[in-house]
Symmetry: C2
Subunit: 229 residues, 2 copies
DNA sequence: ACCTGAACACCGTTCAAGT
DNA sequence: ACCTGAACACCGTTCAAGT
């Protein structure tokens, strides 16, 4: 019974408890996010994963919100931002759809992103890309600058709305939404004539159609609306 | 030492532990929200407030998210929805500003609202009002129906973005935002030419101006963008 | 049916102490 | 400087048992 000494010289037994770094923490966070969702990405859980105590993480990360923002910037690396040669409007739609699709796989991360915006390199690249595309669409630069905010907010919020619906709790979020759908469908045309008349339209369209229409409406609005002096 | 009998007959000693009802729970939740913010509106805290155990609340409320949605619908009662005679565009802006302003006093509630939409009477009234105003602006009914979603999402998300900044933690959220502002200001014009050129515009404007411009852009976009067939 | 105590399985963050 | 154990002050939700 000599096997498996508890303090071996060999470096291969375990990854040998890698030194704690911000990158290591973020990488572990991304792994836990992919495997089990954002609400397992907690200080305590990460500490456990990295074989230390939660207090140690606070040397590298200010708080949970900052950690989530760093995770999002990391995932943003997935969203392609290579320049393209096609119609800039279509490209704009494509990039924002890609961003939204990525966030929809982690809707609770989208929720975080609304409050704690990332400021990492990938997020900057995304902003740069969007400004370039709006410019290519002929939108005045100052409008484009404010417009980027609007577009990113729309994409983020759209993804955030799906939190609770998809991954973690298939029941919960769905029921809230059903409650609203039911209320709209059964609204009295005496007290709520417009709702009663438009119930069909209010509930029509899939998420993709809504998103796509919303983006086009936003872009149309941005290029036509003058900034305040 | 006879004072303060522990089981008095008089009904005035305390409010006599009012019977548990959904309304009572929501009312207590609103009170706690006003006094101490949403993150004190917890099942445990409410139970304590109502002189019972947390388990008892689950008879009337499915979970915390549903409770928060009910609280929001309650607060929506504050947002005036009386018909007006002025310019419908201005009125539209006024109503949505009022909605946003209300939510900004409780930004974390806005965050909840993005996921768990209310479906109570006050929310329905708001939708009805918005549909009416878009109609008065001459927007085609089906576009108005999809547009209401866009407008409410924008207003809610704008309020939600301020969570963490204002009430609870004056430091935290501000620092995240500063990080982005700093990154934009110092972006290299070699790698990020558009950002470098537009840094001023990207960071200009107060929340009120941004909100107002965003609403106008949205309305312009909504009335000009055809629905998919 | 309604209500409850107690338990299960967690959280974020801080701080004094160690190395 | 970096790292840690332990503590403080909480959470949501469920369940078996009572009335």
């Amino acid at each position: 019974m000599t096997g498996r000494p508890t303090t071996p010289r060999g470096r291969r037994e375990r990854p040998a408890k890698p030194a704690l770094t911000r990158e290591g923490i973020v990488a572990a966070a991304v792994a836990v996010l992919r495997a089990e969702g954002l609400d397992k990405v907690t200080m305590r859980r990460l500490a456990q994963e990295l074989d230390t105590g939660p207090a140690s993480l606070y040397v590298y990360v200010r708080n949970t919100a900052e950690l989530h923002a760093a995770v999002l910037d990391e995932l943003l690396g997935t969203v392609g931002t290579e320049p393209s040669d096609g119609d800039p409007r279509e490209e704009l739609e494509r990039v924002l759809m890609a961003y939204t699709t990525m966030l929809m796989e982690h809707p609770s991360l989208a929720r975080s992103a609304l409050t704690a915006r990332p400021s990492g390199p990938h997020y900057l690249n995304l902003i740069e890309t969007l400004l370039g595309l709006l410019d290519a669409c002929g939108v005045a630069p100052a409008r484009a600058a404010w417009g980027v905010d609007l577009l990113l907010q729309f994409a983020t919020a759209t993804a955030a709305e799906h939190a609770g619906r998809d991954t973690s709790s298939p029941a919960e979020g769905g029921e809230e939404w059903d409650a609203l759908a039911h209320a709209l469908r059964t609204a009295s045309d005496r007290t709520h004539p417009h709702i009663a008349a438009q119930a069909g339209s209010l509930l029509s369209g899939g998420p993709g159609q809504r998103m796509s229409w919303g983006l086009r409406a936003l872009i149309n609005g941005i290029e036509r609306t003058a900034l305040p002096d």
